[in-house]
């Protein structure tokens, strides 16, 4: 259980660090205040996972440091029940000259475990880290991946009540990442709360029950991950106040020099928005130019019913250069074989400048169209997509 109430934090900025001492003795202020977090309140229940989104400098790290007690807030309160372990403390206090075993103790103590707890999980940590006999070697002989694995293994076995997971989770190979995810799910199923800070929007949607968005120190959204992620995208693209665009939210947002009028997806054979897996589909985007736009990129992202990104591309990546003139109506078609597994999908469409929408976004439209894949053409398959494998058999001969 985490309860954050009206948390405010500002940093005093001094022209020189030594001015802090001058201030102390001369009793006259030398600093300017820079507010990093402004009146933040939210709660996370036991067993709940909360995503925290925000651009760089939005105040995410400061918030986490306040939660872990590394920084002291100006005002407001943080109430945490139980022990907090943060993956941003990965490898704190690691001594490169000492063995893995010794570092388990040092790091474990620093992230809040008692000697008895460390003793109890030590074998599990060693097993989880897959370091084997390397655990008796000094850390300086490890590869960076091995150090990270050890750090992870310790943090993940700290058995906290609240787990703060940073971007750090994206380290390690796929196998190890999956192991970590499994462990985190177990932890959550056991009633632990999770705070998940990431720029990986997919991971936020997959892992979190709710998400908050921070923008310039303010909490602007506290909602379902899907809604929060879209709002975050909006901040990335527009950088404007959310309220200004709320009325156009359904049809997206942007600067509208070029506007997406309508989007449709039609199967080549079905002539409808229900297509068969393996059938070629055409996604048509109808656009109107409100001004002359000399350089435009059109991007699409297909998402499944969990909001998970399945496939996306844009004309920039495809080597196409688009343009539209004022008053002009154009139709742009994407053709692709729909090798997706049966299910319901939505398509988000965006027109912007350059390779992504962060520089200048003309129009971003979430869930502009939805479609369904029903049935499979050819051999059945499992998973989310059909990789169309071929198969050969060879007899090994000496």
């Amino acid at each position: 259980m985490i309860q954050v109430e009206q948390l405010t934090k500002s940093f005093k900025l001094y022209p020189q660090p030594s001015d802090r001492i001058k201030e102390l003795f001369l009793r006259r202020p030398f600093h300017t205040r820079h507010r990093v977090l402004n009146d933040i309140s939210f709660t996370v229940a036991d067993g709940e996972a909360l995503g925290i989104l925000g651009r760089n400098g939005a105040g995410k790290s400061t918030l986490l440091k306040l939660l872990t007690g590394v920084l002291v807030p100006d005002s407001g309160q943080v109430a945490l029940s139980g022990k907090v372990t943060a993956l941003l403390e990965l490898g704190t206090g690691f001594d490169m000259n000492q063995t893995g075993l010794q570092n388990i103790v040092i790091n474990g103590l620093l992230i809040g475990m008692t000697p008895a707890e460390i003793e109890a999980v030590r074998d599990q940590v060693i097993e989880f880290s897959e370091l084997g006999s390397y655990i008796h070697e000094p850390l300086r002989t490890y590869s960076s991946g091995m150090v990270m694995r050890l750090a992870f293994a310790i943090a993940i076995h700290a058995n906290p009540d609240v787990f703060i997971i940073d971007e750090a989770l994206s380290v390690g190979d796929g196998h190890f990442q999956q192991k970590c995810m499994r462990r985190i799910r177990q932890f959550r199923a056991g009633g632990g709360s999770i705070l998940f800070v990431s720029h990986d929007l997919n991971a936020v949607k997959m892992l979190c029950d709710r998400a908050i968005v921070l923008d310039q120190g303010n909490l602007v959204v506290d909602d379902e991950p899907e809604v929060a992620v879209n709002a975050y995208n909006q901040i990335l693209g527009a950088g404007d106040d959310l309220d200004d665009t709320s009325e156009t939210r359904d049809k997206g947002y942007g600067s509208f020099e070029a506007k997406i009028e309508a989007v449709e997806l039609i199967g080549q054979d079905s002539r409808a928005d229900i297509v068969t897996s393996g059938e070629t589909a055409t996604l048509s985007v109808h656009m109107q130019g409100h001004q002359d736009v000399g350089e435009m990129t059109l991007g699409i992202m297909i998402r499944d019913r969990f909001g998970q990104d399945i496939f996306g591309t844009n004309t920039h990546h495809m080597g196409q250069s688009l343009a539209i003139e004022q008053g002009e109506n154009k139709r742009f078609d994407f053709h692709f074989p729909m090798h997706l597994a049966p299910g319901k999908y939505t398509v988000t469409v965006a027109a912007h400048e350059g390779m992504d929408h962060t520089r200048h976004c003309y129009h971003w439209w979430d869930n502009a169209v939805s479609f369904e894949v029903a049935g499979i053409r050819g051999a059945p398959f499992g998973g989310v997509c059909n990789l169309q494998p071929t198969f050969t058999e060879t007899c090994a001969q000496d």
Partner: protein, 259 residues
């Protein structure tokens, strides 16, 4: 409980583990003080033939060695504790910035570590005293009291310097220099009597001089430290400690913000 474990681990790291991989291991942290004692005792008594006579002290060819070492060990410990504590927040910035750890408790491991070295050195020194047949007395039992008072002051001073050096880097260099000068302003290697009169005032106002004298009284002259000394130094220690804790408390938020 956990804090104690953290401190012990840091202390262990400081004394033993930093020599891990070497053949002698933790013995290295004992070797330095041992060599110091040997150099000062042998060089000054055997080679330079220094002789010293103090009123009330039994004559021995090692008199000067005893005079020197009894003060030197305590000074080394005092000086190392203060100078190392001064830089603690910068040295451990990686930890302070990442986990919630008490800024007051963190430097305690240096206190522990340096005090341990002193205690071990003292054991060697006492062994040496027994070896040369110099008499020991019960007054030595007061030595731990004086040492504890000294180390409380060292911790307090170190903590004050450490807090300020976060904002003013020059403090660490300044402390280094002050301690080099301070060493020679204290009658450790020389006898106070040889000082010209116009310098004598400096020694009189040097707060370390009474400590040095107290150690010598106990080891060489078999006298207990005076009650006045104990009262005054305990008061000083209390005030230093209170001031240090107050300053650290006041500036705690700023320290964490800066690091």
């Amino acid at each position: 409980m956990r804090n104690v474990a953290v401190l012990l681990t840091f202390t262990r790291q400081d004394l033993i583990d930093r020599y891990s991989g070497s053949v002698l291991g933790g013995a290295w942290s004992l070797l330095m003080p041992l060599v110091n004692i040997l150099i000062f005792t042998l060089v000054f008594s055997e080679i330079m033939g220094a002789r010293l006579s103090m009123a009330g002290m039994q004559q021995s060819e090692y008199n000067y060695s005893l005079y020197l070492v009894s003060a030197m060990l305590a000074w080394n410990c005092f000086s190392a504790t203060v100078t190392r504590t001064t830089t603690i927040f910068q040295d451990k910035a990686g930890i302070i910035a990442k986990v919630s750890i008490s800024l007051r408790t963190l430097p305690l491991y240096l206190l522990l570590s340096e005090s341990t070295i002193y205690v071990i050195s003292m054991v060697f020194f006492l062994g040496f005293i027994v070896l040369i047949d110099f008499p020991l007395s019960w007054s030595l039992l007061a030595l731990p009291v004086v040492f504890v008072i000294q180390q409380v002051i060292a911790y307090g001073l170190g903590l004050i310097f450490a807090t300020f050096s976060v904002f003013l880097r020059d403090i660490r260099e300044l402390v280094d220099i002050v301690f080099k000068v301070w060493f020679w302003l204290t009658p450790i290697v020389y006898v106070a009597d040889i000082i010209p009169d116009h310098w004598a005032g400096v020694l009189a106002y040097n707060p370390v001089t009474p400590f040095v004298d107290a150690y010598r009284d106990m080891v060489l002259l078999h006298q207990l430290p005076s009650l006045q000394f104990l009262v005054v130094t305990t008061t000083v220690a209390g005030v230093t400690l209170a001031l240090a804790l107050f300053i650290t408390q006041r500036l705690q938020q700023d320290i964490r913000d800066f690091i």
